[in-house]
């Protein structure tokens, strides 16, 4: 129901409205200020960075630190960026397939033991990562996958929450199309790939973006299973970089901003899916 127009125009309401904007803008400033301060600081010269008390803005802003990171041959970022991209894309592709496929089975088939099977899958949601990370580390060692990118992909191929979400989504699809396809002689897998999957765009987009970002930012598990410099993903590279160049603040700040840029770009274009996914995941 709409607020009556007289209410909207009353002085008390307008005062409340500008008050609301004042608080919201204050929150906005608090949210953006740390990013802003690091960006302006990363543009300072080395001398300006050492100066106390510092000026807020550089008098002679420079992209020097960014250029050093992107071009210096002693800073091998290409391989590490590639690692992060490959692992993230692999995990997105695999998670989207296993989630939608298992979700389809649970949503559209009736068989004995279905609730039990679904319960087994949901256990994953209840178990904190810190409990399974030690045994999983031993498994990865036993399989000979330690210090390889496979160690980041193999243990995360099935996402219980993804299955749950896809099941909900597919349950709302009408059964008529499936039955029509069956009568036309489609296989059960064909119904999944040709009837179900093409209708799942929004759900796949949400889960895909979320999986991509979670993988891109993942730190604890890569820290445990990766050791060689060439296998590092971006968060590990950033931490290593910080210990290597602890005296060079400008480089570290520029590196952390560079790390955030890809995720921010993804976010700008796919903001709606991300916020939707975050909202629904609370009610899993």
């Amino acid at each position: 129901m709409k607020t009556p127009p007289t209410k909207r125009l009353s002085p008390g309401f307008i005062l409340g409205k500008s008050g609301a904007y004042a608080v919201l803008i204050l929150g906005l400033v608090a949210t953006l200020l740390p990013f802003f301060y690091i960006i302006v600081s990363s543009l300072k010269t080395d001398a300006e960075l050492r100066q106390t008390p510092p000026d807020f803005f550089s008098k002679d802003p420079t992209l020097k630190h960014y250029i050093t990171i992107l071009t210096d041959e002693n800073i091998p970022i290409e391989r590490n960026v590639l690692n992060s991209v490959v692992v993230a894309l692999a995990r997105v592709a695999i998670t989207l397939f296993t989630s939608s496929f298992a979700g389809y089975i649970f949503a559209k088939y009736h068989f004995k033991g279905k609730n039990l099977a679904f319960g087994v899958i949901l256990i994953q949601i209840m178990i904190p990562f810190q409990v399974v990370m030690i045994p999983n580390y031993l498994l990865i060692v036993k399989f000979g996958l330690i210090d390889s990118l496979w160690a980041l992909i193999i243990p995360s191929m099935v996402d219980a929450y993804g299955i749950f979400m896809m099941k909900q989504f597919i349950e709302s699809m009408p059964a008529e199309l499936m039955d029509a396809a069956r009568i036309d002689g489609a296989s059960e897998f064909g119904i999944y790939s040709r009837i179900i999957l093409p209708q799942m765009g929004p759900a796949l987009a949400s889960l895909g973006v979320f999986t991509f970002m979670a993988t891109w930012n993942d730190y604890l598990w890569p820290l445990i299973v990766l050791t060689s410099p060439e296998n590092r993903t971006i968060p590990l590279l950033l931490v290593w970089f910080q210990t290597q160049h602890s005296s060079n603040q400008g480089l570290i700040l520029a590196a952390s901003i560079l790390t955030l840029i890809p995720i921010f770009l993804v976010y700008i274009f796919l903001q709606r899916w991300i916020v939707d996914q975050a909202t629904s995941s609370a009610f899993k």
């Binding site: 409340g16 906005l28 921010f264």
Partner: protein
């Protein structure tokens, strides 16, 4: 109207329908078996093996006699790991007991701070035009999607004693900033170490967008008539918030509180990279202890597994609570 499979089954064409159903069942089973085997290997086995390991003196460096190096040089020691953690005088046990307290303290500080920020902001967001609402919400959510590693570096710089923004702001308003924000073990306010306060602020700053979008979504689902009725009856905005909005959101608030507590208990990156557990273990947490005992210092996987079991039990109780809240019927 299309014929559904269940109609077929009900009709006189029983044998045809039965064959179809059997074919579908076979497909469902063969599809699920690999997924369930996978879950068995990477979820059920690890949780059981963590339980088993917590009863052994276990380190992967030693070669045991039995399954997965259990037994022999990695002997069964019953609940000794747990006794050590509860009462022992070894360094890891002493640090762990402090870590349990610190994790509890962190959670108790994060939850109210988070709610004090997110609830009013959500109500205010709800009251402005749709266009601005989406823009503000998107920006508030920005820290949530950022790499915590990068944010830890950003906040380390924010807290830097000489050139950090917080020291500059203190000076700007005529206050004397602390000599060190993150490393002074003697800086304690109201029983809370300053380093812990700093981590709480950085974490809530990163995390508040998450609860905010949930509250905004929940507010949208409250019928507008209820709040309008309160206004027509002459309620102030303050009364409307406390007497209408908060009671209507009770279930959502409860649920997000449980989720916030569960995630706060598991915070790792910012403790490891921003305060590094220090000074004098004042920001050492349970998860940091598990990681350090398993992978950094001692490779004592038995003891670390016992620690993880304690964390698991706490989180399990909270998760059961969460499911119970979800199950309760709710109507406006």
């Amino acid at each position: 109207m299309a014929i559904s499979i269940s109609d077929l089954f009900k009709s006189d064409n029983v044998s045809e329908g039965g064959k179809l159903m059997a074919k579908q069942r076979r497909f469902a089973y063969t599809s699920l078996v690999p997924i369930l085997l996978y879950m068995g290997l990477f979820t059920l086995f690890p949780i059981l093996f963590a339980m088993v390991m917590s009863l052994f003196s276990y380190t992967p460096i030693r070669e045991g006699s039995g399954f997965l190096d259990l037994g022999g040089a990695n002997p069964f020691i019953g609940i000794n790991n747990f006794i050590e953690l509860a009462t022992g005088t070894g360094k890891p046990a002493e640090v762990f007991r402090l870590a349990v307290w610190n994790t509890f303290l962190f959670t108790v500080l994060v939850l109210p701070l988070n709610l004090i920020i997110t609830l009013p902001l959500a109500v205010l967001l709800e009251s402005i035009s749709q266009k601005f609402k989406i823009l503000f919400r998107a920006i508030y959510f920005l820290p949530t999607i950022s790499s915590t590693v990068a944010l830890a570096i950003i906040w380390e710089y924010m807290y830097a004693p000489g050139w950090g923004l917080l020291s500059l702001m203190f000076k700007a308003v005529g206050l004397v900033p602390p000599k060190s924000w993150l490393q002074d073990p003697n800086a304690i306010y109201f029983g809370v170490p300053l380093a812990m306060i700093c981590v709480v602020i950085a974490h809530v700053w990163q995390d508040f967008g998450y609860n905010l979008v949930i509250f905004v979504a929940a507010l949208q689902s409250i019928p507008k008539t209820l709040r309008e009725a309160a206004r027509v009856d002459g309620a102030t905005r303050w009364q409307e918030f406390w007497l209408v909005v908060v009671p209507l959101l009770r279930r959502t608030i409860l649920l997000t509180s449980v989720l916030t507590v569960i995630s706060s208990l598991q915070v790792f990156v910012i403790f490891q990279l921003l305060s590094r557990g220090g000074p004098k273990n004042q920001t050492q947490t349970m998860v940091l202890s598990i990681y350090e005992n398993a992978f950094r210092f001692s490779n004592n996987l038995g003891l670390a597994s016992a620690m993880s079991m304690i964390l698991f039990i706490i989180i399990l109780v909270l998760t059961v609570t969460q499911f119970r809240i979800l199950r309760t019927e709710w109507e406006y």
